[in-house]
Amino acid sequence: MPGPGEYRDSPVRSYVVTGGRAAPTRNTVRPETLVIAASPGKPLPVTASRTERALLGMCRQLLSLAEAAVHLELPASVVMVVASDLIDSGHLVVRTPTDEPVNRDLLKELLNGLRKLV
């Protein structure tokens, strides 16, 4: 693993995996977004890429996109683009979609939860 700021090259450029796109189709998809494969499972079309298959396979249970990215050895930014497509096509489901990720109730729950960890 390279250290922070070190250069690492990959034989496959990110834009190949994302089909040339730099941004996801959805602006609500973030590294901490929790996803899970749709249930009942929906088969991927034969044209699906290896990355799409790998991501969907990894998300049999609940996982954040950042974690999926690490285990797929891809940048989170790339996985967010691929995940957006799978969400659009109904293969992947976002756990509790929200327009307002930070609200009072969430902050209170977070505070109470953290206090119990000490």
Partner: protein, 211 residues
């Protein structure tokens, strides 16, 4: 953990390549950024709180590094990567917190913009032996990300000079009301307390905004 309400966090099992799934009861995720200069202890703090071994992602950076990174011999290079460490902690059966460690230097600011979106706030980790290295981080927070609540945690190293909080607030030219806390990033309770201070501040800032 002695609380009667504590529970065993990860319950979801693992993937073939070691990913640790979240418990199926989790409904929401929250995110806090941990920023600071290189070597200030970001990954240590994340590791002391995280229920999983801190993970590292490689993020793409484009033009931001040009003129800063030595690109000699790499003239065709358009994309460079920066490593980002993160961890997670299931704080209640329905809520998981992600901690993202982000390098503070100016050339990484592009990376922040995307990450700051949807964040609860920012914990700025400071090393009093190298206080001047925190200026860039704080400048960015006060100018570019002014709506994002932040708190300053002073990570104590054995040879750190001890400063009074007032002195630090002045030396770092912090906005009034910014919480400053002492913290040992290696200690679980110490790191959790720093996070609590930040979340309390975020909640108070939200109250103020609604009045």
């Amino acid at each position: 953990m002695v609380s009667a309400n504590s529970f065993e966090p990860p319950a979801g099992g693992t993937t073939a390549n070691g990913a640790s799934y979240l418990a199926d009861t989790v409904e929401h995720s929250a995110k806090i950024l941990v920023v600071g200069a290189f070597g200030v202890g970001k990954t240590t703090l994340i590791g002391s709180v995280s229920e999983i071994k801190p993970l590292r992602t490689e993020e793409s950076m484009t033009t931001a590094s040009v003129g800063v990174d030595d690109l000699a011999g790499l003239e065709g290079k358009r994309e460079t990567t920066v490593a980002m460490d993160f961890g997670r902690v299931t704080v209640t059966p329905t809520l998981v917190l992600y901690l993202f460690g982000t390098p503070g230097q100016r050339r990484f600011w592009d990376l922040w913009e995307g990450l700051a979106e949807g964040a609860v706030g920012v914990l700025v980790l400071v090393d009093t032996r190298r206080l001047e290295r925190s200026f860039e981080v704080l400048d960015q927070l006060e100018t570019q990300l002014a709506e994002l609540p932040f708190a300053v945690a002073v990570n104590h190293f054995p040879d750190s000079p001890r400063h009074e909080v007032d002195e630090l607030i002045e030396a770092l030219d912090l906005p009034p009301g910014t919480p400053v806390i002492d913290c040992d990033a290696r200690s679980h309770p110490g790191s959790v307390k720093a996070l609590i201070t930040l979340v309390e501040h975020a909640l108070a800032a939200r109250k103020m905004a609604q009045v």
